[in-house]
């Protein structure tokens, strides 16, 4: 009896599978294991991860690693994926002309117009002039209220802007009801003496006057030309609970379109496309260019820098010359990113247009042979490089119960989405496409404005719930879950992710519905689009309907909702599509390793 080990080195995990071949040629699977890939796929540091995975698999069948007769490594596809994001618009406030944010507790309601006046200078105020008073946090709420009450009988105070979070406290002590905006961080930048309009929305609604260009015109008495120039201000105030617009002669909010630049596809013919045309335009241009040799961007523009950055970082990994690294595929996705407006007074953000791009770099060759040699030295077990990744994955996927030839696999990993069709006569067609799990994480991170990529990864992976009391939470599907022991109060009121065995708190204050929407949208934008693109490329006669069944394998096939999304999307083409179950036991993992062992039999 001989023991054969199949080893698959992926972008993120290394998988092994152990099989035994008897004297009579009978074959039996014994064990398998999965470990994090150490180092970049296809480089010597991988050996460490391979050894520990082999050790774990052999431990399960209580045998030493030296009992293995042959290790078979996959000929990994020489593709490495990377992602980048570029905003293509930016908003700049010049001369502090507005404040628009969502303080948790503003006070009063309605709108008012007046001249800005700092509280410390209130004695300078003239009777008969309407004022909006500005108070820094040097004044406590009691002092501020007392001072205002002292002057209210003689001065016409119409509204109040506070730095501290004390709007309700001041309002409760004032002798006159006025709208009060609080939590204005950079209050020193408010220009005294200018005319300003202030608005606080009624509870449960958002502002109405200041989010309307004509509303601003009415309050500040603007002419047609000036009204035109405040339109971006009105736009960026939509949906806010409180706002201040200040009339400054040169003040404005500008929405700049950044010089986004062009992408050039070098294919059967060269095609240029401007990033401004959005993801759909870019993808259309890509497919019209035919087979792609390389992609680059206009020099000294955002996209140009982005693509050359990807190439440089790939060159470091593959240790090849920059010029030999070629980008052979990209996936562009439209997105919106909340970006803090430059020149803001209270940390206002604006949703800026952005394009997320995943690029796939083809290098000439990965040094798999060197890995096999090193492995042989260290383990004293014969090791060979055997079989192309996609073919092996198809062979492994065939062990899923209920499949038949011709069979298509869709291998959704972290960096790339690969597809292969295995025909009944043994022919295999393969394709590698840019864009997979990492692009989804990046989209989630930017659209939700998250500080860390790790949080975005976790949002992608785990379902959510909102802790509604110390004893129960509402899950994302509406169900309730109760707890015997009280939940740690730090989780109270927060959205939490339900990782196995623990709860992870999302620090940012984002409603659960919004996270759910962004998460599903990101997955759909990347995976459904890429699945159709990849399967069309390998389908007989490029006709999707000629593929009878698709088996989903790879890390992203383990996701709790991506396989269902694809099953739904592909059912339109009468394709049987579902998560693979390698050897009937392994789920979508281990396809390549299993294929490597199977292929030993021929």
């Amino acid at each position: 009896m001989k023991l054969i080990a199949g080893v698959d080195i992926g972008n993120s995990t290394t998988e092994v599978c152990i099989g035994a071949v008897g004297e009579d040629g009978r074959f039996q699977f014994l064990s398998g294991a999965s470990r994090m890939t150490t180092g970049t796929k296809g480089t010597l540091p991988n050996v460490h991860g391979i050894k520990s995975a082999l050790l774990e698999a052999m431990d399960r069948i209580r045998q030493p690693v030296s009992a293995i007769d042959l290790v078979r490594l996959n000929e990994a596809a020489p593709v490495i994926g990377d992602t980048a994001m570029e905003t293509i618009t930016e908003t700049i406030i010049t001369e502090s002309s507005m404040i628009g944010h969502n303080p948790s507790t503003p006070a009063g309601a309605g709108d008012a117009v007046g001249e800005l006046l700092f509280l410390e200078n209130i004695w300078k105020g003239k009777p008969g002039t309407p004022y909006i008073v500005v108070a820094s946090n040097r004044f406590s709420y009691e002092e501020a209220a007392a001072r205002l009450n002292q002057y209210i009988p003689e001065l016409d105070v119409r509204g109040l802007i506070l730095q501290a979070d004390e709007a309700v406290l001041v309002e409760n002590r004032l002798s006159k009801k006025i709208p009060i905006v609080d939590e204005v961080r950079h209050i020193r930048k408010v220009p005294e003496g200018k005319l300003a309009a202030i608005e606080v929305a009624l509870p449960g609604t958002s502002i109405r006057m200041l989010s309307n260009p004509y509303g601003i015109a009415t309050l500040l008495g603007l002419d047609a030309e000036e009204t035109r120039s405040v339109t971006p201000i009105a736009k960026s105030l939509i949906g806010k609970r409180s706002a201040v617009v200040i009339r400054t002669p040169h003040g404005n909010v500008q929405e700049n379109v950044l010089p986004a630049g062009e992408i050039t596809f070098h294919g059967e013919k060269d095609v240029n496309i401007n990033i401004d045309s959005g993801a759909d335009g870019i993808m259309e241009a890509l497919s019209s260019a035919g087979e792609i040799r390389d992609i680059d961007g206009e020099k000294h523009t955002n996209v140009g820098n982005m693509l050359s950055r990807i190439k440089t970082s790939m060159a470091d990994v593959a240790q090849e010359q920059d010029s030999e690294i070629r980008i052979t595929d990209i996936l562009a996705v439209d997105t919106l990113a909340p970006v803090e407006i430059s020149g803001s007074l209270a940390g206002e953000t604006c949703m800026e247009k952005a394009v997320g791009i995943a690029a796939m770099v083809k290098t000439r060759h990965l040094p798999m042979q060197k890995i096999a040699e090193r492995l042989e030295q260290e383990l004293h077990v014969r090791s060979t490089v055997a079989g192309v990744e996609a073919v092996m994955a198809s062979l492994g996927a065939m062990t899923t119960p209920g499949t038949r030839l011709p069979l298509a696999i869709l291998d959704m990993g972290g960096g790339s989405t690969d597809a292969a069709v295995l025909e009944a006569d043994g022919r295999v067609r393969t394709t590698h496409q840019a864009g997979a799990g990492e692009l989804v994480s990046m989209l989630i991170q930017t659209e939700l404005g998250l500080g860390s990529r790790t949080t975005a990864e976790q949002i992608k992976k785990y379902p959510m719930g909102k802790v509604e009391s110390l004893f129960h939470m509402r899950l994302e599907n509406g169900a309730m879950q109760f707890f015997e022991e009280s939940i740690d109060p730090r989780y109270y009121g927060h959205v939490v992710l339900l990782a196995p065995g623990e709860m992870l708190k999302i620090e940012e204050d984002i409603p659960m519905e919004r996270i759910l929407e962004v998460r599903r949208d990101a997955k759909r934008k990347v995976f459904v689009r890429n699945a159709l693109r990849a399967l069309t490329a390998v389908a007989p006669d490029r006709d999707l309907r000629k593929i009878p069944n698709v088996v989903l394998v790879g890390g992203s096939a383990e996701d709790f909702e991506i396989p269902e999304m694809l099953t739904e999307a592909l059912s339109e083409y009468r394709i049987v599509c579902g998560r693979g179950n390698i050897r009937g036991t392994e789920g979508p993992r281990n396809a390549v390793a299993t294929g490597l062992v199977l292929s030993y039999l021929g």
């Binding site: 948790s104 507790t105 004390e166 309700v168 409760n172 509604e468 110390l470 109060p489 009121g493």
Partner: protein, 111 residues
């Protein structure tokens, strides 16, 4: 008929008046009603009984220069937050948190 107002209950015993004022300000800014009342017992007892007395299920105990926030149905002594010799901003946020517990909003940092 006894009518209970929906309010956060604060039980105090020899409470530091400045701390109490900050706690009240925190609750008031959140727009929730509250009531301050003298009570007997140690800090855990004050907070526990305040929470169970409050029809909103949220209470605060202040004993000299120590403060604790408690919620209904939590065991006595297992205070949600507990402060000893705090800074004023901590008291303000502790008060805000007792109100935010009622509004089911995430707590502010108190430590």
């Amino acid at each position: 008929m006894v009518v209970n107002r929906p309010e956060v209950v604060i039980y105090v015993k020899d409470a530091d008046q400045d701390f109490l004022a900050e706690v009240c300000a925190g609750i008031e800014e959140e727009g929730v009603l509250f009531r301050v009342q003298s009570h007997e017992g140690d800090l855990d007892t004050l907070a526990y009984e305040a929470a169970n007395e409050s029809m909103l299920g949220s209470g605060i105990g202040i004993c000299e220069r120590g403060l604790a926030m408690q919620m209904m149905h939590l065991p006595k002594g297992k205070n949600v937050f507990e402060l000893n010799e705090p800074a004023f901003w901590q008291c303000r946020n502790l008060g805000a948190n007792s109100a935010r517990a009622v509004k089911k909003m995430p707590f502010r940092a108190v430590y």
